[in-house]
């Protein structure tokens, strides 16, 4: 493959990767785009204005999605970090990790369907806390898996070093463990945030249609065949992660392990 050919191909691939974003943004700006037009008949910012109005509940969805995802990311990262240490050093590591892998690959929506009863029983169905908890059940094991690679013998030795030198747990965490893990913590926070941010099926079941996250809104608009608003909600859904991915990538790049 010639060098020039390679660059052309790279250009094509870049276009393909960028195209969905451009298209969705364009769709969100349209109000009238019927067959066979290849370009919208009307382009306007009117659709975006409804974000600021109370109609449609878009602002509510945006806010509640951010709150839920931040909570899920925070708790799963924190708890995952603490738990993975125990598991990594434990004798039953294999068996315990099995439990971690399972929710991660099981279809979240089927899992939610089986657990729905318990959420109703504990008055958690249809509540934000319930949705956060349900998403934690998926994200927390994932965090455990992410951190399992962190607890190596080297870490163990460092910890023991701290103890021998007279430090306590808090100090070892603060001065040694957390700093080394910063990159990983951020990656985990970000990835668990995305898991929650993108979740639809589980949120629809546990939230009973009352917790209207952005993904639920996109689906609703698609059902209503209002594709312009669906594209608008989709923009709100994909643009923040796209920006965050840029930030995250810099971090991953910096902390190569």
């Amino acid at each position: 493959m010639t060098s020039k050919g390679k660059y052309v191909l790279l250009g094509v691939i870049t276009f393909l990767f960028l195209f969905p974003f451009a298209y969705i943004v364009l769709l969100s700006l349209a109000q009238n785009w019927s067959f066979p037009a290849v370009w919208p008949q009307t382009i306007t910012l009117d659709n975006w204005k409804i974000i600021f109005s109370s109609q449609g509940g878009m602002t509510y969805s945006l806010v509640i999605s951010v709150v839920i995802s931040l909570s899920v990311a925070f708790f799963s990262t924190l708890c995952g970090f603490i738990t993975s240490k125990f598991i990594a050093y434990s004798a039953h590591r294999q068996k315990l990790m099995l439990f971690s892998y399972f929710p991660f690959i099981l279809s979240p929506v089927i899992y939610a369907g089986c657990l729905y009863f318990f959420f109703i029983k504990f008055d958690l169905s249809g509540t934000v806390v319930g949705v956060v908890l349900a998403q934690l059940i998926i994200a927390y094991p994932y965090a455990v898996i992410i951190f399992s690679g962190f607890w190596s013998d080297k870490m163990k030795n460092l910890e023991q070093l701290v103890t021998t030198l007279g430090g306590n747990t808090w100090q070892s965490y603060r001065k040694v463990l957390l700093p080394s893990a910063t990159g990983m913590l951020l990656v985990c926070f970000f990835q668990t945030y995305l898991i929650s941010w993108f979740e639809y099926g589980l949120t629809a079941i546990i939230g009973v249609g009352q917790v209207q996250t952005l993904t639920i809104k996109v689906f609703q608009y698609i059902q209503e065949a209002n594709i312009y608003y669906a594209a608008l909600a989709a923009c709100l859904l994909i643009l923040p992660p796209a920006i965050l991915l840029y930030v995250n990538k810099r971090f991953v790049f910096k902390t190569q392990h």
């Binding site: 806390v129 009352q210 639920i216 609703q220 065949a225």
Partner: protein
Amino acid sequence: MRSYFVILIVCLLTVSCGSERQKKDDLRNLSWDEITQGAEGQTVNWMMWQGSPYVNNYINNYVIPEVKERYNITLEISSGQGNQIVSTLLTEIDAGKEVSDIDLAWINGETFYQLREINALYGPFTDQLPNSDYVDFDNPIIKYDFQKPVNGYEAPWSLTQWSMIYNSEKVDNPPRNMEELEAYVKANPGTFTIPNQFVGMTFLKNLMIEMAGPEALSGDFDAETYQKYSSRLWEYLNRIKPYFWKDGQTFPSTPAAMNQLFSNGEINFSMNFGTRIDNAVDDGTYPTSARVYLLESGTIQNANYVGIPKKSAHKAAAMVVANFLLSPEAQYKKMQPNTMANNTVLAVDKLPENWQQKFNDIPESNYAPPREELSARALQELGPEYMIRLNEDFRTKVIQQ
């Protein structure tokens, strides 16, 4: 130690979320004023089908602000179709839940039937609503919901008649019975389809009535009669299925999807609960050449209602909302072009003079036959078991073939 702390926090959170729901008991003995007072400041969670932008518009831009202003009730909508409402309430019963998540539900037909079977509805309550004075509860369309007596367990909300819509530019003579439909799809393959949900299933019910005549299918469900006519129906459908849109390999799963196909010319027909399509034509959902028509043997007309789950903690507020929905103002507004634009459940002759005038002055639709013609061809709904069976059998006997 810390694990207990965590558990404590979790408990606190759950309790704090649950404390908002106070329990209110028997409302039968209260006067309407007392009920309105008790409803003040409450939040009502209304689970309803949100598949129609016009309904959503009416609710979001009229009903919600009005009940807030008039009664200080916060109305929240959650999305859920009939079977979802039933399965939610059923799981609540399974879990022994004391307080339901749902305070009001938009229901009719088989949903109402199933909710009564599992004893999930509160009632009777409609006689306590002041606006029920304007309703003729002896009208069989309102008194019976899919042939089952309502007995005050759900409050009527709207009246709709199922109709077909065709594109007058592409079709000269729309098919009005099964024979004509068969001839049409064979001559024009790929231009017709059925949505795989309640609007489409009602079309199937219309066809069964065409085959059997309305008397044969009315009253209680009879498995033999169903078997006899449904097998003819499946035979007919499987025969003409290859001439449907996408060769009958797939069917649109929502009316909105079907309307999209209709509006971009992929198919020439759509179906709807409702006979006024003015709003849809005005906002471009339908082409201006769209016209409403009925089948020769008539089409089903039904009422839909709002019900209150037995375990709702905000029954008073729910009743106030139900009453408001039944008010002449709300019903009149609902008939306006850019809202639901379907018919009122109120008996116009029971209304005060000025309202009678207003209702009678509502103009005819530009795109449909006149109202008398429509009501002359209105058929009564069949028992709920038909809907349940048709849903299943359509899947096994037609889709999976």
